[in-house]
Symmetry: C2
Subunit: 396 residues, 2 copies
Amino acid sequence: MSTARHLWDPLHVRVLRQLRDSGPLSRAQLADRLEVPRPRLLGELNRLIAAEQITEAGPAKSRGGRRSTLVELNPRLRFAAVDLGATSLDIEITNGRLEPVAAYTEAADLRKGPKPVLARIGELLAKARSDGVYEHLDGVGLGVPGPVSFRDGVPVSPPIMPGWDGYPVRELLAREHGCPAVVDNDVNIMAIGERHGGVADSVDDMFFVKLGTGIGCGIIIGGDVYRGIDGCAGDIGHIQVTAHGPTCRCGNVGCLEALFGGAALAAAATAAARSGNSPALAERLAAHGAVTARDVADGATEGDAACVQLIREGGRLVGSVLAGLVSFANPSMIVIGGGLAQLGHILLAEIRSVVYRRSLPLATGNLPVILSELGPRAGVAGAAVLASEITFEQWS
Amino acid sequence: MSTARHLWDPLHVRVLRQLRDSGPLSRAQLADRLEVPRPRLLGELNRLIAAEQITEAGPAKSRGGRRSTLVELNPRLRFAAVDLGATSLDIEITNGRLEPVAAYTEAADLRKGPKPVLARIGELLAKARSDGVYEHLDGVGLGVPGPVSFRDGVPVSPPIMPGWDGYPVRELLAREHGCPAVVDNDVNIMAIGERHGGVADSVDDMFFVKLGTGIGCGIIIGGDVYRGIDGCAGDIGHIQVTAHGPTCRCGNVGCLEALFGGAALAAAATAAARSGNSPALAERLAAHGAVTARDVADGATEGDAACVQLIREGGRLVGSVLAGLVSFANPSMIVIGGGLAQLGHILLAEIRSVVYRRSLPLATGNLPVILSELGPRAGVAGAAVLASEITFEQWS
């Protein structure tokens, strides 16, 4: 399965993708864009109309001559896109064009194991159906915060998801909803989302770096997600940045995530508040009993020196890891997303500074390092793309 | 261009590759292996025979019934494979099966610029022709120690090759020899060589790590070399391993290459000889006026503690870089080659130890880290593979 558009993909997949991404088109426009002989396309369209996968959508604007009729994806098409975080659950129901028609967000605790979490997803989806959001689902895409065997549709030894190892998530979703389902790592779906509808639109070789509770990297190579042999490519949170750092939850010392994951930043911010180094954080700690990445970002905006320093230090660490990966992979773009991306341009400037200084000039001469455009929606956006891809490919 | 075997490659390319890699085959065997309908294959073979790209090669062993005739690549096929190192020039002339029929090795100095170096290559090839090694060349493959724009066939800002930037190397080779030519980075061709005929035979996702004067990594993804957007992927020699290391020739501090490239190891070995820490190295320094990686390897074999220590320290540094890259890319194999690979199993054990300890267990559970099988031949072997690929693809 792929998110790239290959000329050798079956024609029906190429038609469905085109209608998903462009909206209604005339038969002539479709034939032009897909570079397919008209008779072959018309036969395929008749077949797709008979299967109710696409429908006719009224007349095209006249260009003189005979009016042509537009075709579009069946307006009743619905995909469920689910982004499961360590502590949160986001769901979007989209139409065939991947536009959200309903969205749900709530807290979740993955450590309860797969059964209650999947049951809760089932409840939310059932509620959407009883609210009239959909009659039936055509595809389900799910992202989880851990390694996934993409081929088998199961989590594989996910460190923060006890009980999920090898659990047949995809199979259960597909059976429950009677439609194709797909399961991937959360960072991969964020990368797919950003590439499909965000700042990395159609960029074929890029990193999507998620900085949040965990730190990971979605790798797009040649337009496809690169998952590695065991499905755990992109696990950059456990790259060592110092030999004498704190011990990470993985058991090693000095991992990037142990120094600048969400928990590490909150701990450092709390220490700065208590030590008197940061008036801005002290004030927020007193008011709310805890400080978060958002507080550090706000403090920095107000000019609080300790907050700026915390962000710069984190950016330096992230940059040093990315500099090595840029030398290794020579990508054409780096997108920074995840909760800590709200640290914004101070973070970005520091990451850029280190990457541009430390990597080969040839590799950075033309390398944008930019913030995610979709923000917290990147995950569900990518899950919807994956759901549509797997559905289109399984239709025949 | 590709080194992977794709089912969608043109039939003639698939036939030629198969005969290159298997030797003579009957038409029936070819049809089986390529999974092509017999009539289509027979038509293609007749065409290839008419073009003198393949020839009939006598009767196959009888399996009862009518004797079939074998086909093989034209025995007069010749490829020139050139591996240009910082200080050396290796050439092999191969037949269509990529077996060397002649080989030349001599010192070279790339810093003289492209004209004298390419002229010398031309002289050696002319000598081979006058010796009767070939009548004409069918393809030329060249590896150079620096970044290459593979598409354009030119070196791009190669740090140790003054005067080569943008020089039309491929075009000149093709024109001089009247055949297809291909230019790639030396580490990429080593990776291709090892994957085609060495220890990584047909492994689709792997790193080939060259430890020599320079340090670099050939990246094979999905059976193809991954070159990155600017052709400089794999430049791992300039990944920082310590913030307080020596200054590298690239201008940064603490690069892997500055700590454990060939020059760094020779300097450390000389220091160990002079300080009295290493009797084995002191003896060799006195005898030859200099010490090399080979001396360190020999000293370690004799049990010289300082030599063992030098190798272990280097292995630790290489391992720390590779551990991060394994977390990032989750490859299925790492092959260690280049001149320093002669440091052997002490080096390998240390690299393994760090990689296995520092990377995600899921990524290392099944990850061989092994020494190159082709050794100094890896480069020319890969250049020959590339030459044959480009030639087969340009034949029609």
